[in-house]
Structures are given as structure tokens and as C-alpha cells.
């Protein structure tokens, strides 16, 4: 920062207060949720304003009760989390495999009709999910694919392919193609080039895209609600918590569940913040 630009005291105060207020707004509610989840439900009811739990009050009972299976008197969140994990991982693997090939083709190969494909992808990205949900629900229940995880994986893959294609394509375009050209001239096959050269170089971009897709699948609620609401065993974590909300479940249980659902996302994010941000930026700025 050059000495020519010294900020006045007023600007500094304004800047600092914006940062502090944003910090409180961004983290306050989450902190509130965490603190409440550690207190017994009766004490939350009696003293809503008493935020910090007393040392003797703190308990993780809400967490154990939330996660334990219903057969053991819990709320079955553990199996909901497992369903979400299976869905998320399956979606990421299929979606990434499919879109690496497609993104490489649209980024590197000059084939006729590729700009039409790009336009379709952008258009599809903007179609309202709820409008597609109507026919998808009808067609997949006609095909007997509602009420199981496979149907949901198919939907999630298709919903995430446009996004990951878009992110990966922009990432590939930004990479230099000279090494690939050299390898092609030396007689390496196209799949060989993608496997041996593009993948290693593009790994950070692919990892960022994969995490983004995992978060989409992990958070998804509408299709899970439509497809799985009758099959309690298959509820995903968001669906499970939302359904429990309607059953008068104690709020401490719901909050504990919410925190548990958040933890994998936070872990992913902390590990790869920079990767994710650069990936997101790559997805937006061409």
C-alpha cells in the first residue's frame, strides 16, 4: 500500500465497524446454534436469553440421541448421514468422470457444434429445479426409480454435470496446451493425454469442482423430499432433519443434527479453502 493513500480516521472506523458487524452477523447464529445444542432442552425453554451454558449444564446428550438409531431410542441421524455420504460420493465420482471428458472436448478440440453444446449447458444451468422436478418425479416413479438411492444419483449427476463441465472447461482453457500438443505429436493417444498429462496438471481444479459438487449433493433437499419421503430408511441428512422438525422433536436435537451435518462441509472447506475459492472464481470469470 503506497504512502500516497493514507486513509482518514473516519474511513478506518467505518471499515473496522463493517468488518466487526459482518463477523457478528456471519458467525453469531452458528455460534448460537452450537451453544444451544449443548444445553438441556428444559433449560433452553426456561432461559432463552441465557446463551452460555453453565459448566455443569454442558452435555452432548443431544448429539448421541440424534445419531443413535431409532431402535435404540435415538432419532436415526447416523443412518441419514450415511445415506447422504453414499449419495454425495457416488454423485461426485460419476459427475466428475463424465465432465472431465466433456470439458476436455469443449476446451481443446475444435469440433463442429461445440458452441451449441456450450449454449445448451448455460441454458440448462438456469432452468428452475422445481420445474424439472415435476416431470422427473413422474417419469422416474413410472420407471420405478423413486424410493431408492439410484434414482437420486441419476438426478444429482445430471444436475451437477452442467456446473462441473462449466468449471472444468474454464480450468482447462486456462492451462497451457503445449505439453499436450507435444505428447500428441509424439504419438500418445487422446485418452493417454487426458490420463497422463491433463489430469495431474488439472488436479487442483478437479478437486475444487469435486468438492463443490459434493456440497451440492450433500445439501440437496427438494429431490430427496420428492423421491424419498415415504422411505424413512433412505432419508438423507437434510431430509431427515426437516422431517423431524415436523414431528415436534426437541430443538436441541435438531440443532445437534444441524451441527453434525455441517461438520463435513467445514472440514472440506478448511482443508481446501484456497482451492475452492480459486475454483469458484475460475467457474465465474472466464
Amino acid at each position: 500500500m503506497s504512502s500516497a493513500r493514507r486513509e482518514s480516521a473516519a474511513v478506518r472506523v467505518l471499515r473496522t465497524s463493517i468488518i466487526v458487524i459482518t463477523m457478528i452477523l456471519a458467525c453469531g447464529p452458528v455460534l448460537y446454534g452450537v451453544l444451544l445444542s449443548l444445553r438441556p432442552f428444559a433449560s433452553v425453554l426456561n432461559n432463552p436469553l441465557d446463551l452460555v451454558p453453565g459448566l455443569d449444564e454442558i452435555s452432548f446428550d443431544a448429539y448421541t440421541a440424534a445419531i443413535r438409531p431409532t431402535s435404540a431410542g435415538g432419532y436415526g441421524l447416523g443412518s441419514f448421514l450415511l445415506n447422504s455420504l453414499i449419495l454425495g460420493v457416488a454423485t461426485v465420482i460419476v459427475s466428475i468422470l463424465v465432465s472431465i471428458l466433456g470439458a476436455y472436448a469443449t476446451a481443446r478440440i475444435r469440433f463442429s457444434g461445440r458452441s451449441v453444446g456450450n449454449a445448451i449447458i448455460v441454458a440448462v444451468y438456469m432452468f428452475p429445479g422445481v420445474v424439472l422436478a415435476v416431470p422427473l418425479f413422474v417419469l422416474l416413479s413410472r420407471a420405478g426409480l423413486t424410493g431408492n438411492l439410484l434414482g437420486l444419483v441419476i438426478v444429482y449427476v445430471a444436475l451437477t454435470v452442467p456446473v462441473s463441465l462449466y468449471m472444468l472447461r474454464n480450468y482447462f482453457i486456462a492451462l497451457p496446451s503445449s505439453i499436450e500438443d507435444a505428447a500428441l505429436i509424439d504419438g500418445c493417444s487422446l485418452m493417454g493425454v487426458i490420463w497422463r498429462i491433463v489430469l495431474p496438471i488439472a488436479l487442483p481444479g478437479i478437486a475444487a469442482t469435486a468438492m463443490y459438487i459434493f456440497m451440492i449433493a450433500w445439501n440437496e433437499y427438494l429431490y430427496a423430499l420428492l423421491f424419498l419421503v415415504q422411505a424413512r430408511d433412505l432419508w438423507t441428512a437434510p431430509l431427515g432433519i426437516a422431517q423431524l422438525t415436523d414431528f415436534d422433536t426437541p430443538v436441541t436435537i435438531l440443532l445437534a443434527g444441524s451441527i453434525v451435518v455441517t461438520i463435513p462441509v467445514v472440514v472440506l472447506f478448511v482443508f481446501a479453502q484456497r482451492l475452492l475459492i480459486s475454483g469458484l472464481a475460475a467457474g465465474a470469470e472466464k
Binding site: 503506497s2 493513500r5 471499515r15 463493517i18 468488518i19 463477523m23 452477523l25 456471519a26 447464529p29 452458528v30 446454534g33 425453554l45 432463552p48 436469553l49 468422470l97 463424465v98 471428458l101 466433456g102 472436448a105 469443449t106 478440440i109 475444435r110 469440433f111 457444434g113 461445440r114 445448451i120 448455460v122 440448462v124 438456469m126 432452468f127 428452475p128 422445481v130 420445474v131 422436478a133 415435476v134 416431470p135 422427473l136 413422474v138 417419469l139 413410472r142 441419476i154 449427476v157 452442467p162 463441465l165 504419438g187 456440497m215 445439501n219 427438494l222 437434510p238 432433519i241 426437516a242 422438525t245 430443538v251 444441524s258 455441517t262 467445514v266 472447506f269 475459492i277 465465474a284 470469470e285
Partner: protein, 319 residues
């Protein structure tokens, strides 16, 4: 490229380079397009068909193209129902206010965070918490905060601010405050969306700000421009394109938002936006045809904004 001379590859293929590029291009992108076609384009055509069909959920097992009862009732019925128009105006209000709020919030915070300071990267990561938080967790926490019995907002209001009674924020359609009618629940879902999505704008604006050359501002500062002038004449004009794209994208996303509203209010308290209406036509009224018709109108309206977005984007690329 198309009229490139035929080349013999090491494997002796006789395809021209252009043909070979076409073949490879199609083969590699086929899975992507297949996925999109099967689960997005086909259903989209199905939505058009259903919108013109007398078709309810119980008819699904007998569904086939030649048993469809064609009708214009769904499409007409949507337009003549007051619920459609109230859902549309709610959606437009919701989309407009969240767009403005999300972008204003993101830009202001990004500008405040521009100057490096100790711990900046930690603070920046913490700002992203509402965006990264799964929507179910965010909605559960907000519902708890606003709960009339044990929520902190109502507890604070009644015990400290002296409210006569707690407010059911998520189910109250409107309240009179100082002679003004305030749509309470709608404001709550708008604030929720701003809180959740402003970090996204913040990310993009921050990325753009890092590319604003420092020399320009330094030169202006030496020439005597104060902080406000530098902001208005140098920094903000550089943000114009990214903000314009974000405005349209955000509007389109907000316009079709279902999760955030449904998880907070389930459409109660005057928050029944188009997406919630489509969902309820399908699940509560079990009327596939009507849901499809609502969805079709919704898509048509969105398409107008999509075209605007494409035009804005094209102009950006041309520059």
C-alpha cells in the same frame, strides 16, 4: 481447420484432421450431453406435454403418450387463478430485494476487506460461513432464533425491548408498524437469503478487486483525489461488469428458489413463491398437469431474464 489436408497418423487412420477432431469431440462429450439430455431436456419436453394434459398423480401407472387427455385447462387455469398472480408478485418482490441486498452487502464488505490486515484470511473464511453452511442447518438455526417460545429474538424483544407479546415471525403475513403494513414473513425469508448468499457476491467481488491495478489509484491519490472520489471514479467502474452479471444471475437463482423458503416457512405467512406453488400443486393437490402449467409459465418468465443475461454476457465478452 475443416479443409486441412488429410494427414496420415501413426496408426494409419485416413480421417482428415477435421473429421478426427469431430469424432473425438463427439465421443468425449457424449456422456455429458447424454446425462443432460436424459435428465434435463427430456423432462423439459415432458413438462410441456403435462402442462397440456389432464393428468394427476394417481394416473402415473397408466402413463403413456396415447392415453393422454389433451386440454388447455391447466395453462388457462393458472393465468385466471389469483394464487398464480399473488405467487408471481411475491416471487418478483423476493427476487428483486434479495438481489439488491445480496449484491450491496457483498460489495460493501468486499470493499471494507480490501486493505490487508493481520488475520485477514481467517476473517475472510469466517465471512463465508453462512454460504458454506448447509441450508438445512441454516434454516434450523433461524427457525430456532425466531421461535416465539424459546427463540432468542423474541426473548430479547419481550424481556429487553418491552414487546407486549412474542412475534411469530415465520407465519405472520403482515403487521402494522407506525401506519405501515409490513410483510413480516416475507422480509424474514429475504433477510435469510441475503445473509446466506451475500458471501458468494463477496467472493467474486473480492476476486475482481484483486485485479484492479494499484497504479491507477496511486496516481489519482497523488493528483489529490480523496478516498470517496477514488472509490466512485476508479474502483466502482471496474466492478461494473462483474456486478451486472451477478445481478442477473442472482435474480434468476432467487426467482427459482425453493429450499430456502420452504425450509423456513413451507410457504406460510405470504411467502408462497412460484417454486413453492409448483411443488404444492404437485404434492398437496396431486395435480401434475397444473403443476406443469405453473412451472411452464415460471420458465417462460425466467427465460426472458435468461435472454437478458445472455445479452449482457455477450456484450461483456465483446469488450
Amino acid at each position: 481447420m475443416a479443409n486441412a489436408p488429410t494427414v496420415r497418423t501413426a496408426r494409419g487412420s485416413r480421417l482428415s484432421r477435421g473429421q478426427r477432431a469431430n469424432l473425438h469431440g463427439y465421443l468425449l462429450s457424449a456422456p455429458s450431453y447424454l446425462a443432460i439430455a436424459v435428465v434435463i431436456l427430456v423432462p423439459f419436453f415432458a413438462v410441456v406435454v403435462f402442462a397440456f394434459a389432464d393428468f394427476r398423480l394417481i394416473d402415473i401407472p397408466r402413463l403413456s403418450l396415447d392415453t393422454i387427455d389433451w386440454t388447455l385447462d391447466n395453462v388457462r387455469g393458472a393465468l385466471s387463478s389469483t394464487a398464480f398472480w399473488s405467487a408471481l408478485s411475491t416471487t418478483l418482490l423476493y427476487a428483486a430485494f434479495t438481489t439488491v441486498g445480496v449484491i450491496a452487502g457483498g460489495v460493501i464488505v468486499a470493499l471494507a476487506m480490501r486493505k490487508p490486515f493481520r488475520g485477514q484470511s481467517v476473517v475472510r473464511a469466517l465471512f463465508l460461513v453462512p454460504y458454506v453452511l448447509p441450508v438445512i442447518a441454516a434454516a434450523t438455526i433461524w427457525r430456532t432464533m425466531l421461535n416465539p417460545q424459546y427463540g432468542i429474538v423474541n426473548a430479547f424483544g419481550t424481556q429487553v425491548l418491552g414487546w407486549s407479546s412474542p412475534i411469530a415471525f415465520l407465519t405472520t403475513k403482515s403487521a402494522q408498524i407506525g401506519g405501515l403494513t409490513i410483510p413480516v414473513a416475507l422480509i424474514v425469508v429475504i433477510l435469510f437469503e441475503i445473509w446466506k448468499s451475500a458471501p458468494f457476491t463477496f467472493l467474486f467481488v473480492t476476486a475482481r478487486l484483486q485485479n484492479v491495478p494499484a497504479e491507477l489509484e496511486d496516481a489519482a491519490a497523488i493528483d489529490g483525489a480523496n478516498a470517496g472520489q477514488r472509490l466512485a471514479h476508479i474502483v466502482l467502474p471496474q466492478l461494473r461488469t462483474v456486478v451486472m452479471v451477478l445481478v442477473l444471475l442472482r435474480f434468476i437463482w432467487s426467482f427459482q428458489n425453493f429450499n430456502d423458503i420452504y425450509l423456513l416457512t413451507q410457504g406460510a405467512g405470504g411467502t408462497e413463491v412460484m417454486a413453492v406453488k409448483v411443488f404444492k400443486e404437485l404434492t398437496v393437490r396431486a395435480d401434475v398437469g397444473s403443476a406443469a402449467a405453473y412451472g411452464l409459465w415460471m420458465t417462460a418468465i425466467l427465460l426472458v431474464f435468461g435472454v437478458l443475461w445472455a445479452l449482457a454476457n455477450r456484450r461483456k465478452e465483446a469488450m
